[in-house]
Symmetry: C2
Subunit: 215 residues, 2 copies
DNA sequence: ACAGATTACGTCAGCGGCTGACAAAACACA
DNA sequence: TGTGTTTTGTCAGCCGCTGACGTAATCTGT
């Protein structure tokens, strides 16, 4: 009761701080190596030894190699959710989501300079990671759906609409991202344009008989 | 020019037939074992030895363990596409898709008795495979988009709507499937109900301000 | 400051997915 | 039947990932 007398309620301790630092270091090393050499060509062994620990330790902090990326992306998602909640309350849900991604993107571009924030950029750059992105879309969907539910006052567990909206939204985003990849463009502005184009097209795509005046 | 003088245009040959048979055998063995012992607990070694070949041979026919399931599911997708094309031409695209899955489901239930046809049922039964399903939704999307494009006379490469429609459709399906899993139901009828519920909800979910009369 | 309980780490050994290389067997064609 | 091509088995090995166990660092109570 002398060396480190921290606040009584806050039990931080040197142990947990070290743990947090280790986690940060591992993630940073991983993202750095992914960025430099590509995701596939980076081994967990390399990540670990870059931090000076054993491979086993890496797997004590992350359940898989993919998990590193996922965790980084989730930080980004979190910001998208708050961007959604910050939109004016009178915007319809789908519109709010559409506009939130615009606000959100500004944040991404700012953070893109930092390794941590550029995880999403990493995902958009290396095709192997698109898989990871898609694979975990369930988690992302649920998170987004909760935010939508919170905003609209609808219970996401009882009403399917928040989940559905999130799913449709992400589907439109994925489609836009796919088209952007195939176009060969590297410009993030084009990516946002592709996003908005798809999002604005959704209502008529599911509603009308397309092109033909009626049918 | 004596032993096997087949049709000039058709070069089948004993070799290719053996190859096709081997592929069939491997897939059947794999699906059988997946069904019996679960996907994770089945090793590629077991699959190979059930057919009496080496593990290496398995990987000459399928690029990965997941690939077996994917290929099986793609056969099912193909039928969904023809179900779509068989719908009356005056149905709007999204409606046609909605109705196609009803027709399609009848086929699935019939084929569910056979291992080959039940791959989709396998996917809906073992949670590990949902991942595979989701992971490859890009391929499924593209295939569906092509069918939608063919039906509507819209070029899927130039116009984003077919791809978008397919993506939204599959997103609604995935959401329904997810809800069905969480509900704990094993009834396929409930699954179809969940599908239709989501599909019918999509237009208003993306269009209106929900619940509140106007906004 | 010290002893004992926790917790984190390294080491090792091993499984399973997956691949390249090479030689042997199966096949096609003449 | 002999020759050239394709398919297969064997082997060796990388990589992601995990369990077990011993050791060292940290925390706790005195």
């Amino acid at each position: 009761m002398s060396t480190t007398s921290a606040e009584p309620g806050e039990r931080v301790g040197l142990r947990e701080r070290k743990k947090a630092r280790m986690r940060e270091s591992l993630m940073e090393a991983a993202l750095h190596l992914f960025h430099e050499n590509g995701y596939q060509r980076t081994t967990t062994e390399e990540i670990a030894s870059r931090v000076g620990v054993s491979q086993r330790t890496f797997f004590r902090y992350f359940t898989s190699k993919e998990d590193v990326v996922l965790e980084a992306v989730e930080d980004v998602d979190e910001h998208l959710c708050s961007a959604l909640l910050a939109r004016p309350a009178d915007e319809p849900p789908f519109t709010a989501l559409r506009n939130a991604i615009l606000d959100h993107w500004g944040y991404l571009e700012q953070e893109a300079l930092h390794l941590r924030g550029s995880a999403m950029g990493l995902v958009t750059e290396s095709p192997e990671l698109i898989e990871v992105n898609v694979r975990y879309c369930h988690r992302r969907q649920n998170r987004l759906a909760r935010a939508v539910g919170e905003r609209t006052g609808v219970d996401p567990d009882a009403d399917p609409r928040p989940g559905l909206l999130a799913a449709v939204f992400l589907a439109a985003l994925n489609t836009g991202h796919q088209a952007w990849c195939e176009s060969g463009s590297r410009s993030t502005e084009d990516l946002v344009r592709a996003f908005l184009h798809r999002l604005d097209l959704v209502p008529e795509t599911v509603a009308c008989p397309w092109g033909a005046p009626r049918g």
